[in-house]
């Protein structure tokens, strides 16, 4: 199994994909802000860690990038989910649900064997 860094990388990637699915095309800052909000400010990570993750997702073909203009007419690089990304997101969502369900059974109190 990968070490903590890899696990974190995986989770971060999932969060990025979900964010893009929910919000549509978004720039790096926006994604970072959104993740922070959604996680209820429980995660206090550097925004900087996002960019390598974005690069990896782009290299793997799950997102694509394009330069555009923000609301304030500022030049920014926008990321968008690709079809492969959508499929991957669905797959990972299902996997996470499965994992949590199994773990829940293990960790749930009262399910003791006689």
């Amino acid at each position: 199994m990968g070490d903590k860094a890899d696990v974190w990388q995986g989770t971060l990637a999932l969060m990025v994909l979900k964010t893009l699915q929910a919000m549509g095309p978004l720039h790096g800052y926006g994604i970072a802000r959104r993740i922070e909000q959604t996680s209820g400010d429980l995660l206090a990570v550097n925004y900087g860690t996002l960019y390598p993750a974005l690069l990896k997702l782009e290299q793997e073909g799950y997102i694509s990038s394009e330069w555009g203009f923000s609301d304030n007419n500022r030049k920014a690089k926008y990321y968008k989910l690709t079809r492969a990304g959508r499929k991957q997101l669905n797959k990972e969502e299902r996997e996470w649900e499965q994992t949590t369900a199994i773990l829940a059974r293990f960790l749930a109190p009262g399910e003791e064997r006689p």
Binding site: N46, Y47, G48, Q59, E60
Partner: protein, 889 residues
């Protein structure tokens, strides 16, 4: 799958770094700008907003760094960086680079040349189809006298094994060492011929260049007068005439139709036949005599799916069966089988030669690596500040090691390229040197993929070897001490240079081993040649004559011819005396089992063997061999007189320990029953060497020619002056008796002997060359170290001189240090070299190997070179101006 895509993009990312860099900077800037805007909106001050934004980002440079690592392939990029840096470093130190590259190139070239030779022999493609499925079946004698001990088998063996083997789809036989007289077209000539079964060519899958090869049934009586010519004979004698097919030639005065010509490349092992004719065997001939005539080499094609090991087992069983069923003739004999390739190597006894050569050049390469390592160590000390700074800024030590290894690889790569170029030269030289042997001459030494792979491999290996020491040393650099610039004042530099000293001592040891090995070998050769051969080859001219059966069927006719010839030859102007012999002295074996009285009923397998020769009167006079006891053959020992024989000293010693040799009886046990007659020994002859470098004496039996005439013999003429000048007269003498008699190989005896030892001499020369390389390289190594140490100790020397030391004491100081090292190396090397004589003794059984004065002269030689190598830099150091030295920082 996705990962692969990512990797590819990363690889591509190596190329577009600048663009990515700009994009990233722009992206991060816009990120920060947006963050700051948001912060401003919540009321923070611009400065605060900016600081917060950067902190939240986690540092711009850090982010960039993390990003960059994902962008390309960091490992490759680092490597590329190291390469460029290394190349720059090498360019800045041209002297070092030149010496290192040349030294390595020399070592690599030597190795690659020998390797290309070995690979050419090992991987030579025999001109047959599917050579991996071909095997040679041979016999192993219970006692063997010569060389590799791989014997041919008998015809009954062939027939039995052909029917009863389970592993060969086809078996063919060849009797390769015949000579026939070719007459009719121009001068009569003796040609070497191989008699082969009809399926020989078809089984081998060898196609003719012209015409066809034998068809089934042509090895039977009545259909067998067909012949296939070799390309060389066709070219030389018949002018490459394509219309020769279908024409007739006269071999041994019988008419043979030429049906085909084989291409130039067709040769199998050491058989240099010029003509192939069918081998007619009579399967019903199963007598004991037929069993003892072993002259067939068997070639078999393995059945599909059968491995060589299975075949070997089967053949061994068959051999054991033959020994059991026919104990009088085959007792003690074994059979075995080898693949074609292995047989060639065994036959040439090439295995040990290869090992020796490869070891020698391997040692040379090691010494070269040690030299380069020393050079790099010297340079490393000079760069210690650079290393310290780099570590201080944050380069991992492993990164440093990687960088130094990359530099080493760079040198290795350069060395390999130059080395390959030098290998071309080396191959030319080697090819020229090996042209003495026809089989070897045809080898093509070229730089193929095997040689290139080998060169690359040893280049990388060398890089690892010589790069390791300095790389490890760099790892242990003490940052603070170096950066604070604490130069070694007057401290002894011995500890610092320990690694280098070990390297130099090691070099010297290796050189000692190599020199000793070469010395022993060369001494063996020289000794062997100088040793008294038992005869005097000088000024003797020889020729081979084969009387064709058609004209000289009767023994009386043969005797008549040779008697007349001997008399005409000895009365030639310029000739002292002449004689006839079945085998020239020193020119190889012809061994035969024999019996003494009391051994009449011993089974054939238990008989002792002796070398065997049929000679005319005056033979011992011509060859210069002394009769030690009894008498020589005389004209009285003719066909009507009692049968006599002569034996050598060795036979007398070995089989008649109580004396009374003269008067005892002896009988040879040959395949020809008519020749096996009891003879009375009338004298003892001096031992004669069977072969120029042979160190052992063999028992020998001589019979007088007139009592055992043969059709095939050699004539020997002792000339008053130059032997070769008598050649035309010799030919005239033969043709004056019989115009159609072909004469084969008119050569002086010294030339013949020279040819026999040519191979060994080449080996000796090669080993000697490598030993000299080793010596020179170690000398350079010692010189380098001493020069460097002297440079380091300038201050110390300056102080000594200032305090009053004289030039001589400085000289001796420096030289002593260097010599101590050399002596340690010599001691170690000698210890390693001591077992060499014994090792060589088992590898080269015929040589006379002794350790002796080699172990004395090699140390002296090396010490001498070491002293010279130390003296030169020492001289310079003793001239140091103390003021300059002390001021030098």
């Amino acid at each position: 799958m996705r990962h692969l895509r990512a990797w590819f993009i990363r690889l591509g990312g190596l190329l577009s770094k600048d663009r990515r860099e700009r994009e990233l900077t722009a992206e991060l800037e816009s990120h920060l700008a947006m963050h700051i805007e948001d912060s401003l909106r919540t009321g923070k001050s611009p400065a605060q907003a900016r600081r917060e934004a950067i902190m939240k980002l986690g540092g711009v440079e850090q982010t960039k760094e993390n990003y960059r690592e994902r962008c390309g392939v960091p490992l490759l990029e680092a490597f590329y960086q190291d390469l460029r840096f290394g190349a720059r470093m090498l360019r800045k130190n041209p002297g070092f680079t030149l010496v290192a590259v040349l030294t390595l190139a020399l070592g690599i070239a030597a190795n690659s040349t020998i390797f290309s030779f070995v690979s050419a022999v090992l991987y030579v493609k025999p001109p047959v189809s599917d050579p991996d499925r071909l095997a040679v079946v041979y016999g192993l004698s219970p006692i063997h006298m010569w060389g590799a001990g791989l014997y041919p088998v008998s015809a009954p063996n062939y027939f039995t094994w052909k029917h009863e083997n389970q592993v060969f789809s086809e078996l063919a036989a060849s009797n390769p060492y015949n000579s026939l007289n070719l007459t009719g077209d121009g001068d009569p000539e003796r040609v070497s011929a191989a008699r082969v079964t009809a399926n020989y060519f078809s089984m081998l899958g060898a196609s003719p260049e012209l015409g066809r090869t034998f068809a089934a049934g042509e090895d039977h009586e009545g259909y067998d007068h067909v012949a296939v010519l070799s390309h060389r004979l066709w070219e030389r004698k018949f002018g490459s005439d394509p219309g020769l097919i279908g024409k007739a030639i006269r071999l041994n005065n019988e008419r043979y139709t030429v049906i085909g010509v084989m291409p130039l490349q067709f040769r199998l092992m050491s058989f240099q036949g010029e003509v192939w004719i069918p081998l007619v065997l009579n399967e019903s001939q199963q007598s004991a005599a037929a069993r003892q005539e072993r002259n067939l080499y068997l070639f078999g094609r393995l059945k599909a799916g059968v491995t060589l090991e299975t075949a070997q087992a089967n053949v061994k069983t068959l051999g054991a069966l033959a020994a059991k069923n026919f104990p009088e003739t085959d007792n003690g004999w074994e059979a075995n089988s080898l693949s074609l390739q292995e047989y060639v190597i065994r036959d040439f006894n090439a295995g040990s030669a290869f090992i020796l050569l490869l070891s020698a050049v391997g040692l040379v390469l090691l010494i070269a690596c040690a030299n380069i390592s020393g050079l790099m160590l010297a340079r490393a000390t000079g760069r210690s500040k650079e290393m310290a700074v780099r570590i201080a800024i944050g380069a991992g030590r492993t990164r440093l090691v990687r960088q130094l290894m990359t530099e080493a690889l760079l040198i290795a790569a350069l060395g390999a390229c130059v080395g390959l170029a030098l290998t071309l030269v080396g191959e030319r030289v080697m090819q020229a040197a090996l042209s003495f042997n026809d089989a070897v001459k045809l080898l093509e030494l070229k730089i193929d993929w095997r040689v290139v792979s080998f060169t690359s491999a040893i280049a990388v290996l060398s890089a690892l070897l010589f790069g390791l020491a300095p790389a490890l040393k760099a790892r242990s650099v003490e940052i603070f001490a170096t950066l604070k610039n604490e130069s070694a004042t007057v401290s002894s530099s011995k500890k610092k240079n320990r690694l280098r000293s070990i390297l130099v001592a090691g070099e010297v040891a290796l050189a000692v081993v190599l020199l000793s090995g070469a010395g022993i070998l060369i001494q063996g050769i020289v000794e062997g040649m100088r040793r008294n051969m038992g005869f005097d080859p000088q000024r003797i001219l020889t020729a081979q004559i084969t009387l064709p059966e058609s004209r000289y069927k009767e023994a009386s006719a043969q005797i008549q011819f040779y008697r007349e010839l001997a008399s005409r030859l000895s009365s030639m102007p310029g000739a002292k005396s002449a004689a006839i012999t079945s085998v020239l002295p020193g020119a190889g074996p012809e061994e035969i089992p024999f019996r003494l009285r009391g051994q009449e009923n011993l089974p054939a397998g238990e008989l002792a063997h002796a070398r065997y020769c049929v000679v005319s009167t005056h033979y011992f006079e011509v060859s210069g061999t002394t009769i030690i006891a009894g008498r020589d053959f005389s004209v009285a020992d003719d066909g009507h007189a009692p049968l006599v024989a002569l034996v050598s000293e060795k036979l007398a010693e070995q089989f008649f320990p109580h004396g009374d040799v003269v008067g005892s009886q002896i009988r040879i046990d040959s395949a020809d029953a008519g020749a096996n007659q009891w003879r009375t020994i009338v004298g003892i002859v001096q031992n004669v060497k069977g072969w120029p470098l042979r160190s052992i004496d063999d028992p020998e039996i001589y019979e007088p020619f007139e009592q055992h005439p043969m059709a095939e013999a050699a004539v020997m003429v002792r000339a008053n002056g130059d032997a070769n000048s008598l050649a035309p007269a010799l030919r005239e003498a033969v043709w004056s008796i019989d115009r159609d008699q072909p004469i084969g190989e008119v050569m002086s005896l010294p030339d013949i002997l020279e040819n026999e030892v040519a191979g060994d001499k080449i080996m000796g020369k090669m080993m000697g060359t490598f030993a000299v390389f080793a010596l020179v390289l170690s000398g350079i190594g010692i010189y380098g170290l001493v020069a460097y140490t002297v440079g380091q100790r300038r201050q110390e020397i300056g102080i000594r001189v200032a305090l009053g030391a004289r030039k001589e004491s400085i000289l001796s100081l420096v030289i002593m240090d260097g010599l101590k090292l050399a002596l340690i190396g010599v001691a170690v090397g000698l210890t390693c070299a001591l077992p060499l004589p014994k090792a060589f003794g088992s590898l080269f059984q015929d040589y006379h190997i002794s350790g002796g004065w080699i172990f004395l002269s090699v140390p002296v030689l090396i010490t001498g070179v070491a002293m010279l190598a130390c003296y030169l830099p020492a001289r310079r150091s003793s001239r140091v101006d103390p003021i300059v030295a002390l001021r030098y920082e």
